[in-house]
């Protein structure tokens, strides 16, 4: 709403710079692991950013967002299994399938509100999870190994670690840019107005559900992109990426970073996953620390990291 050229902007800029320079650091120090880790982080940040569009800006608390990770991933995996290696085809199907799924479950879920909405989105994601578990031809519960990454001809080689990282980062930054434009557009203002006061928006003439549904579909489609990238990153897709705790992880990233802020979810994803990594190196029982930490963030850190930085400005 206000222009915030300050601590938040600086933090975001520093983060983007660090992400851009990471491969250089990795090759200088010979630390390949950090590149692998951050490829995953960037992909999940993309998923979190897409969730933030509906959660932070649209006020729709979806607890089933990981479903799109699975749908995007299975689109890649199934097509690869069936001998269609073209990345263009795979990614197009991944996006289209996610959009369609979002359209159907959005149209049904948006009839409800509040906790009921949280729960019905969860239920639909669980359904997707069980459908995937039942795909015996594609590995069922055990998942599906992808033997060849998506083929984009000479454009970009997904099997090259650095190229793949930059592809993921480019997708992330492009999506953040897209969302920045969306939230300031006519459409975006309507969606944010609906979050703020739906009755008022109807009274001045907006058909609220239409806008929410379109927003829901955009978010789902963008997360499908993350799913397609994730499957390429792990060379593997299984129902586990759709399990409800994964949706919970995504929500945590968004809230941790700061809902309804442009870069908040990116910050949240980096922080959450790096913390998870560090703690798990420190102790096998990392969740013993992570769990209470989340509780403390909720109790004392309102508005997430970005909220904290925002308060820093105002002094």
């Amino acid at each position: 709403m206000k222009s915030s050229l300050n601590a938040q902007t600086i933090a975001a800029a520093a983060l983007v710079a660090a992400l851009l320079l990471l491969p250089a650091y990795s090759s200088l120090t010979g630390n390949i692991f950090i590149l692998t880790l951050f490829t995953r982080i960037v992909i999940l940040a993309l998923a979190a950013v897409s969730l933030n569009l509906i959660m932070g800006y649209g006020g729709m608390m979806s607890f089933g967002h990981a479903a799109y990770l699975g749908i995007g991933g299975y689109a890649v995996g199934i097509l690869a299994q069936e001998g269609i290696g073209s990345g263009y085809a795979q990614f197009a199907v991944a996006l289209a399938a996610s959009a369609l799924f979002a359209l159907v479950i959005g149209a049904l879920s948006l009839r409800t509100r509040g906790v009921y909405f949280i729960m019905i989105t969860l239920a639909f994601a669980q359904m997707a999870y069980y459908v995937a578990s039942g795909l015996a031809r594609y590995g069922g519960d055990d998942g599906l190994t992808i033997y060849k990454r998506s083929d984009f001809g000479g454009l970009v080689n997904l099997s090259d670690r650095v190229q793949f990282y930059y592809l993921c980062l480019a997708c992330l930054l492009a999506v953040v840019f897209l969302i920045w434009r969306i939230v300031n557009s006519r459409f975006g203002l309507v969606v944010q107005g609906l979050r703020s006061n739906e009755q008022r928006m109807q009274a001045i003439g907006f058909a609220s559900k239409r806008y929410k549904l379109v927003c829901f579909v955009i978010a789902g489609t963008l997360c499908g992109l993350a799913g397609a990238l994730l499957a390429n990153n792990t060379d593997f897709i299984s129902p586990a990426v759709m399990y409800w705790t994964r949706s919970g992880d995504l929500m945590v990233m968004v809230i941790l970073g700061g809902m309804g802020t442009l870069f908040g979810p990116v910050v949240g994803a980096v922080l959450y996953l790096v913390l998870e990594e560090l703690l798990s190196q420190l102790t096998e029982y990392w969740a013993l620390i992570m769990g209470p930490l989340l509780l403390l963030v909720v109790l004392f850190g309102r508005g997430g990291i970005m909220g904290l930085l925002g308060r820093l400005n105002r002094g």
Binding site: L189, S196, I204
Partner: protein, 255 residues
Amino acid sequence: MAEPLLRVDNLVRRFGGIVATDHVCLEVGRGELHAIIGPNGAGKTTLISQLTGHLAPHAGYIYLAGRDISRLPAYRRSALGLARSFQITSLLPDFTAADNVALAAQAHDGHSFRFFANARKEPQLRAAAHAALERVGLGHRADVPVVRLSHGEQRQLELAVALATRPQLLLLDEPMAGLGVTESASMVKLLSELRREVGIVLVEHDMEAVFALADRISVLVYGRIIASGTPEEIRKNDEVKRAYLGDQHVVVKHG
């Protein structure tokens, strides 16, 4: 015979066993300011909510300029030129005053499925917003977030938002509620100017304002309209006096 701007025909709404709107009939002509008064709990807000489409009537019809709108959703009615202000101020709290009004202008500009261009930089939306804000005397507060506006300013902003949808008919639910003396006076002045441009249905407790402004007044008691007429006729009506003096504390002034 010209169709009135608003015609309400035998509207009925029940809540459980209580009939909150009991076969209400009402006509409001173009350029008319029609006030609805009545004791607390008479069903005034219930009636307004049915007119705007936030509450479905159980029977009866509502016509706007001859068109049956009884079953249309709120946003469609708004598109046809019906605007409302809320009894309890109902704005978008984290948006600025100008944003609130610009969104209303945008709603009636038609195209809101635009995803890329910055809506806050669209000149015609901003111009419409500033015009409406000037109209209600809030021009200088355009860029202030709603949460930091005073109560009186928020009431004025409610009106600006309603005006920005370029309505044929304005439904005002207690626009003076909670206003101080000076704020009330300027609201009365504003309404007396607006009535020349647009039909107004006014629900209000401030009798002084009602009798000063209204062309016609309908009195609602227990969901029924017991009297309808010019301020002069209403003042003289025995049934109205009984309804008010019998079970209400509000005294009809000048009466």
